[in-house]
Symmetry: C2
Subunit: 207 residues, 2 copies
């Protein structure tokens, strides 16, 4: 999927097919946020004002590169996880045995379709958290890219969270569903707080 052109990806997103959908778009938004943060760090390295912070900035850049590599396949993984749900729904249900097997396949696939966006959500949070401590190194000239990146990561987290939630809704294992939702809600809250903090700092820089 990462080798599709932007036009192909957008066309497949708009198409009347279950995937790619909001989960894949969220993953790509997360990739864009991580890429913007990486650009911002690269422009901040080697600056006179940051001479004492070179080690920290290099570590953040490496961390963002690692997280970007983890985020890159999430759009495709999200689609594959949901395609298994669609396939399970298409299983025969003519006999009680078939119905039971189909229901079990749906439930197992739905768990996958819930945990994959949870991973995207956690990666978006990790990207946000990676910037902690170096926000003060970012020059005013590039502050808009920092805040744009944070907005994209929030959109990624919200989209991923919604996919966790809608798939959790269909689980018969309510303990698993509720525990996952509780974790996901707390991660989303953290992303929201971090985005707000960056927005406030950038707002001050552009005032």
């Amino acid at each position: 999927m990462i080798e599709l052109t932007l036009r192909q990806f957008l066309d497949s997103l708009a198409a009347k097919t279950p995937t790619p959908g909001g989960g894949a778009a969220a993953a790509l938004a997360g990739c864009m946020g991580a890429a913007l943060f990486t650009m911002v760090i690269r422009f901040s390295r080697g600056k006179k004002a940051n001479v004492d912070r070179e080690g920290d900035l290099a570590a953040v850049e490496a961390r963002l590169e690692n997280l970007s590599a983890l985020l890159a396949p999430m759009a495709e993984r999200d689609c594959k996880a949901f395609d298994l749900v669609s396939a399970a729904y298409k299983m025969p249900k003519a006999t009680p045995d078939e119905t039971a097997l189909r229901e079990r396949a749906i439930q197992e696939a739905m768990v996958g379709a819930m945990v994959v966006p949870e991973e995207t959500l956690c990666l978006a949070r990790d990207v946000m958290a990676a910037m902690e401590g170096v926000i003060g190194c970012i020059a005013k000239t590039i502050a808009s890219d920092l805040a744009s990146g944070a907005s994209l990561l929030l959109a990624a987290a919200e989209g991923a969270y919604l996919n966790v939630r809608i798939n959790a809704m269909y689980l018969t294992d309510r303990v698993l569903a509720d525990n996952t939702l509780k974790r996901a809600t707390s991660v989303l809250d953290e992303v929201r707080q971090r985005q707000k903090a960056i927005a406030v700092v950038v707002d001050g820089m552009l005032a």
Copy 2:
């Protein structure tokens, strides 16, 4: 730019080059939001529950297709507009005449770099507004894609707004800068309100 692969686009976003940056990423987020809304409308057409709304849904789909076609080139236009700013900064400034010419070129290019993201911002708003009146036609099964699309359009609007703002900061024509910022702030507020309204509706559907 729309013919780049996702991987190429993300790599160029992360690179230590002024473009593509937050403006291009915002434009692409807007394209993804519009594509998700289009998918949501396409799944809603032909449903028994929406039989009386077929004309409205068809009109919204056509409107979203038009807006998507306008949004698709915005990432590249944003880069080109800012590349003119970079080129102007590189003009010679050895004599007073050269300095004056350079300053004028910077100012003219900066106006371009401010109005292009303003156009992206307005398009993101128009995509949000296009959904007014048909939110009630969206089935619960696809509600997460509706809200994900709205989150992406908000990220697009915030990123575009930040680019309007940072470029307006460098304008010597303060009347133009202030009027543009006033307009842009009001459009961003509208996008925020529409996103919040969609989030509340979807939250209720998934409860």
